[in-house]
Subunit: 206 residues, 2 copies
């Protein structure tokens, strides 16, 4: 498992090349690298499985006007011939971080969106995105025997969303340090309840 947190994309590529057999490689980045090192960033993305960016970065990186078209563009990228000795197939997962609105997941199979866990009080949003990414990758790492399916990714998104919600409730890592699995499980259960509805359509009369 490899998470390439936000650093210069050439460095991300060098780290990635050291782990050709990684089961799952995720990459974060930021507007700075899109501005000054876009070609390197695109090359780095072509050799990972999962891109985790915020909505604005996804639009800026691809020049596409919305999340769906931006994600489809990234999912179409494949490594240049010879650039991926380990035979990478290009990214198959795009995760859009949407701050207080939650996060969305786009894969070749489908689309998934999850709201943020609603909080009345946010003390310190610093690190929310990294906590989210760590929660996502960590959940997949904790399930080594499962295929990388949309179903697994959706559970990982819920885990990540809940970890990020705890992180912003106190300063720095204070809340996360003493967080228990039981608290995480309870909040995932709540988040699940907050997103359920019956898909039964309107029954028109007469």
């Amino acid at each position: 498992m490899l998470f390439l947190a936000n650093i210069q994309p050439d460095l991300q590529q060098q780290v990635r090349a050291q782990l050709p057999q990684a089961r799952f490689v995720a990459l974060d980045s930021m507007n700075l690298w899109i501005d000054i090192a876009r070609d390197s960033l695109v090359a780095a993305i072509e050799n990972v499985d999962c891109v985790i960016l915020n909505d604005a970065e996804l639009r800026q990186l691809t020049g596409k006007p919305n999340l769906v078209s931006a994600a489809r563009e990234i999912l179409s990228w494949t490594p240049a011939p010879g650039a991926s000795p380990e035979g990478g197939r290009g990214p198959s997962v795009v995760v859009a971080k949407q701050g207080e609105y939650g996060a969305a997941l786009v894969t070749r199979e489908g689309f998934f969106a999850l709201p943020a866990y609603p909080l009345e009080s946010v003390i310190d949003p610093t690190g929310a995105g990294d906590t989210f990414a760590g929660g996502l990758v960590g959940y997949i790492a904790a399930h080594p025997d499962e295929q990388l399916s949309d179903e697994l990714l959706r559970r990982a998104m819920a885990h990540a969303t809940v970890l990020a919600s705890f992180n912003v409730e106190e300063f720095g890592t204070e809340r996360i340090v003493r967080l228990t699995g039981k608290e995480v499980a309870a909040r995932i259960h709540e988040l699940h309840a907050m997103t359920q509805f019956s898909g039964a359509p309107l029954q028109l009369r007469g």
Copy 2:
């Protein structure tokens, strides 16, 4: 059923007073009335069941920093003594419109959030909010025998979200005019699939 679309709040109050027995009364407004007629708007809201505003308007109206605290504030409002001869109890439903991110529902019982139906191409966003509100109120109107429960409101939110998604795909009302119930049902089914996940928490090992 009564939907008080966005007009001057004293006029909304006069219309509302003509339908004291309405089963469900919803109200929309905008930043202009919060700026220049806030007292009238608050008095109007105190005599409806449901407030439909966007996130920024909810914060501006209440002075609260986020959706949950803003909604809780509005849910605490009750008619001034004598101001509601029909014995209104104040609003019990707050719907936050969040544009491309979807919509959230806050009631005394709980919280619900639903993403927007993802679109690759938005032609004309004009009227999306009104289509959403019409879809919400219309769904409740089409189920006259049901109690106003969170479960009904959640289904109404899904119906509203899908109607709004069709509305923005073409100019003006062009798409809505020829929309069929079958198309709506199919998209509600898709939206439902896009929001499902297993709430099973991480099983820690060792």
